[in-house]
Assembly symmetry: C2
Homo-oligomer: 251 residues x 2
């Protein structure tokens, strides 16, 4: 057992529409001492006057905002990614309650990122696929649509409440830190590119769903950096050796 | 041990200013299947078009709204009253975290009411004084002002999360149900009226703070109906007997 620092999570709003919601999200993040806000392709660009008005002083300057073009870029440095969604997804991801999600975020060795979907559409499947787990709130099925900033508030509060009870100890220091999401995504992209070249995705219409299934499997596995490197090496070896393998089989 | 029904709490907004916040509060209450919203002296009257717009369909009709002139009237049927406030109060009330507050709300025999203050001023001291306990969120001291609807969201979610884990058993069915807040307030008012008549509040400038201290003591004690009746009878007896007591002492 050793005590350790816990990195504060990044909150990532994917394609947010209303500046008011971005501002309200920033305000409640500041309320709970969270300062890493990331926007993926905000509809109305950035900066946004409505966001500043609603932020009650959190924007600009108290909460740090970064803007990204893609979810992949926004989560590149994350060791754990949690997708918030009320909608059931046909994906085999662990579904966590708020407290469970926060405990995973607190116990990961690296930065956690929490994805929040846009007001109308929620998170796109591709973003959920890149996540380790789904965080779902116990909402009334007859009135399930949570306001974006309210969802941010619930996770921010859950984090602060858990942090107020102290830093959890890490029991097994032998476990290697998880791979960064950037490296995991790079690994998956490399794998998919090689599979493309190998003609694996046939027929082409099924490519998207097959990629989704693969990515779900990979993100669930909890790869560490060493495992990512090993797997990437294995893919590369397979790709380089493909011609040879065929030759051998054709012998 | 016996299983039992749990009444859903009432959420009471005291002197709310912005209709938008009332609407957002109603929306998130509906998200978490809470439908008893009470407004004490809303600044812009009721109904309120901005509230309906922000409620995303919760108003009118999904969440039930009642309007009251006083906090006392709004909490009259409550067996437990929780005051949400981030500000430290010079009152000897238990201060609970969100989860603790919800557990008290779930274990009380009767309806719980949760008081939320106005946007700028928060809850007046008189309202906190009428409460059994303070619910305080672990906010960043440098950025402590929670949006009203966000505070509502945190309590609503805490309630739903606890309810999703099942109904707690009541271990001691012998304990009498707590007095309604109406009866407790009536008892305190009767006591204060008699103290006034007895010249207890001297000098008059100190009346408010002395009443506040008395009420804090009474609300902390967890009176049941039988105890309230007994105490009221005792006050009445003292008041009726005052003249006699004087006569006796003057003998």
């Amino acid at each position: 057992m050793t005590s350790r620092n816990i990195l504060s999570p990044a909150f990532i709003l994917v394609a947010p529409q209303m500046g008011e919601n971005i501002g309200a999200a920033a305000r409640v993040m500041a309320n709970f001492a969270l300062f890493d806000l990331r926007l993926v392709a905000p509809r109305d660009g950035w900066p946004n006057a409505a966001a500043e008005t609603m932020s009650a002083g959190a924007l600009p300057g108290v909460v740090n905002v970064q803007v990204f073009e893609t979810v992949e870029a926004a989560i590149a440095d994350c060791a754990l990614v949690i997708a918030t969604t009320a909608r059931p997804r046909e994906m085999t991801k662990p579904v966590l309650g708020g407290a469970q999600a926060v405990e995973r975020m607190r116990s990961v060795d690296g930065r956690a990122g929490v994805l929040f979907g846009a007001e109308r559409a929620g998170l796109p499947n591709e973003a959920v696929t890149l996540s380790d787990a789904i965080l779902s709130f116990p909402v009334n099925a007859q009135f399930a649509s949570l306001n974006l900033a309210q969802a941010v508030a619930l996770v921010a509060h859950g984090w602060a409440e858990a942090m107020a009870t102290g830093v959890p100890e890490k029991f097994d220091v032998e476990i290697l830190p998880p791979a960064s999401r950037e490296n995991l995504i790079g690994m998956m992209e490399q794998f998919e590119a090689e599979l493309d070249r190998a003609g694996f995705f046939f027929p082409e219409e099924k490519r998207a769903v097959v990629v989704q299934n693969l990515r779900n499997t990979f993100t669930r596995a909890g790869w560490n950096e060493q495992e990512v490197r090993t797997f990437r090496g294995a893919i590369k070896a397979l790709a380089l050796g493909r011609g040879k393998a065929r030759v051998i089989r054709e012998d």
